[in-house]
């Protein structure tokens, strides 16, 4: 062999020669971990930065408005002569719209997941699941004007006294938006329960429904709870739908046919409006945003706790 290639260098000689050129790449190789670390820390640093800003600006707000007044106040009049900053109307709006959304999305999403995972024949599942996920791709602004121009008039047939902007209609539409999330994630959790468990239950004479509710769902519970919490977080953070369809009334009321403002919608209104930097109303943005942040943080911690408590390990 070597005789045939007399004009050529041997492979080991070529490798030796290349080594010189490769020096640069070798150095790069050593730098890669630190480079990647820097890039990876960008998102962490951003989060830290956001939290810092939220806290710093909120402190400025709480210098003007006592913290207790903010969290217990039921009156929110940022633009009046004697402005009052009680966050409860916003908190109330957020909670009510989230509850409505989950009342819609929870049962429907769960039933869809049960159908897809336990009952649907393979070919039906293959068509239905992607279709369902398309729903998740509809821009929220579309859902928003859909709630405003279609759902509210529809609701007027049931509640004639419903206001043009109300919390019920965006709540329902947020629920519709969240259905695919809950259905898809819960279906994933249920499908990953091993078949051997279903067989074990069926072999004891359980019906399919008993198997689903007493074996499959308990085994998939941590994933199902996670999907619900993601849904709730999504509802709490949802902005566009409520900004369009629920109006900007800052009353502290429990009438779901009336207009209410959520924390997110308040931020949209103030940020897009007349708040000059440095005014109390400007700082109130940060205080509300901080409340929103703490709210979702608590939700996530709660979810972790619940899913750990209920997890059936296999």
């Amino acid at each position: 062999m070597a005789a045939n290639n007399k004009n050529r260098m041997s492979v080991s000689e070529m490798i030796e020669q290349q080594k010189q050129k490769r020096k640069f790449f070798n150095q790069l190789e050593r730098l890669v971990p630190s480079l990647l670390l820097i890039i990876a820390s960008i998102s962490v640093l951003t989060t830290v930065g956001i939290i810092y800003t939220l806290f710093a600006e909120s402190v400025a707000f709480f210098r003007n408005v006592p913290i207790l007044d903010f969290f217990t106040g039921t009156v929110l009049k940022p633009l009046s002569q004697n402005p009052e900053f009680g966050v409860l109307p916003l908190l109330n709006g957020t909670i009510i719209s989230t509850v409505i959304a989950m009342l819609v999305a929870g049962p429907i999403g769960m039933m869809s997941a049960i159908y897809l995972s336990e009952y649907a024949p393979d070919n039906v599942r293959r068509v239905l699941k992607p279709l369902l996920e398309i729903l998740a791709g509809v821009p929220t602004i579309v859902y928003g004007f859909f709630a405003f121009t279609f759902v509210t008039p529809l609701l007027r047939m049931i509640f004639p006294s419903i206001e043009a902007t109300n919390i019920l209609s965006p709540g329902i539409i947020m629920g519709v938006m969240i259905i695919p999330m809950i259905a898809s994630l819960s279906e994933d959790a249920m499908s990953s329960v091993p078949n051997s468990m279903r067989e074990g239950a069926l072999a004891l004479g359980s019906t399919k429904l008993e198997t689903t509710f007493k074996v499959v769902i308990p085994a998939a519970l941590s994933g199902i709870v996670a999907s619900f919490v993601l849904g709730i977080s999504r509802a709490i953070g949802e902005t566009m739908i409520v900004a369009i369809a629920s109006g900007s009334s800052k009353n502290f009321s429990f009438d779901i046919t009336g207009s209410m403002q959520t924390m997110t919608a308040y931020i949209v209104e103030v940020a897009g409006g007349e708040a000059a930097a440095g005014t109390t109303i400007y700082y109130s943005l940060y205080a509300v945003a901080l409340t929103l942040f703490v709210f979702t943080l608590i939700m996530n911690l709660l979810a972790k706790y619940i899913s750990r408590k209920f997890r059936e390990e296999y």
């Binding site: 024949p121 091993p194 051997s196 468990m197 067989e199 074990g200 239950a201 069926l202 072999a203 004891l204 004479g205 359980s206 019906t207 008993e210 007493k214 074996v215 308990p218 085994a219 059936e312 390990e313 296999y314």
Partner: protein, 277 residues
């Protein structure tokens, strides 16, 4: 033939000789299979199966992989229908009723016919809840009765002493052998008439295997047991009757000592002496 197997068979022979001196009790037929054919789509998996299974006996089904032995076992409690493309013809009579009849309520059948799987499949619940599951879905709610059922079932599977202090632990903390005996106990909790076992020891170590085999000998006093096994020594050790399946057909079905010492069909002899399979 390996010496171990010869020994096992000799032992078996001696035992059967002893048994034969006892007066033969007329045993009731639990399952009567007549002209059973089964297809997975286009594949003809079971061909004209005729076989009866009697109470208080261990019936072993042996044969190479893909011969249809597990399929037949799963037909006995209609678990085979979990594969949607299955078609059957013929009949299997269980206590005078054809279970392949679509009007036969499959849950009733499975309540009376327990099944133990190849790989232990406890529910991801506590040991107690695993056993109580069966009685609970059939409407038994009384805590005192459930406690009693759990204890009796675990005793029946000879695992009570090991587990009585950890009934609230998750079943997945148990060893493989314990899990399998827990699954047998779970099956006993609904007091079935028949126990189907699909290679119950194939994932277990020799010691756990021995314990399951001893358990099978105890259980056959009260139950009809049908066991599918890859392990011919196991069939020789624990069964009263053996069916040899090949390519979806029953080649031979007879008393176990006949099958192992005096097979009527050449293929049976070749298989049990290890010439193929």
């Amino acid at each position: 033939m390996s010496t171990v197997m010869t020994k096992a068979i000799n032992l078996k022979l001696v035992r059967n000789e002893n048994e034969r001196s006892e007066p033969e009790v007329q045993k009731e037929v639990v399952y009567d299979t007549k002209g059973l054919n089964l297809w997975y789509g286009e594949t003809h998996a079971l061909k004209n199966i005729n076989m009866d299974i009697k109470e208080k006996e261990v019936t072993a089904i042996i044969g190479p992989s893909g011969c249809g032995k597990s399929t037949y076992l799963k037909t006995l409690n209609r678990m085979v229908e979990l594969v949607p493309i299955v078609k059957t013809s013929g009949q299997i009579t269980y206590k005078g009723k054809n279970i392949l009849d679509k009007s036969f309520r499959v849950e009733d059948l499975r309540t009376q016919v327990g099944m133990v799987f190849q790989k232990a499949n406890p529910f991801p619940k506590s040991i107690y809840e695993n056993i109580a599951y069966g009685p609970k879905i059939h409407g038994i709610k009384n805590k005192k009765i459930l406690d009693e059922i759990v204890e009796n079932s675990l005793r029946g599977a000879f695992i009570w002493d090991e587990l009585k202090d950890r009934l609230n632990d998750n079943a997945y903390g148990l060893s493989g052998g314990q899990q399998q005996r827990l699954c047998i106990a779970r099956c006993l909790a609904v007091e079935p008439n028949v126990i189907l076992m699909d290679e119950p020891t194939s994932a277990l170590d020799p010691k756990s295997t021995l314990r399951i085999e001893e358990l099978v000998q105890e259980l056959k006093k009260d139950y009809a047991i049908v066991i599918v096994t890859h392990n011919m020594q196991q069939a020789a050790r624990i069964s009263d009757k053996t069916a040899f399946f090949l390519n979806g057909e029953i080649i031979e079905y007879d008393k176990t000592d006949h099958i192992f010492n005096n097979p009527a069909d050449e293929r049976t002899g070749d298989y049990i002496s290890g010439r193929f399979g």
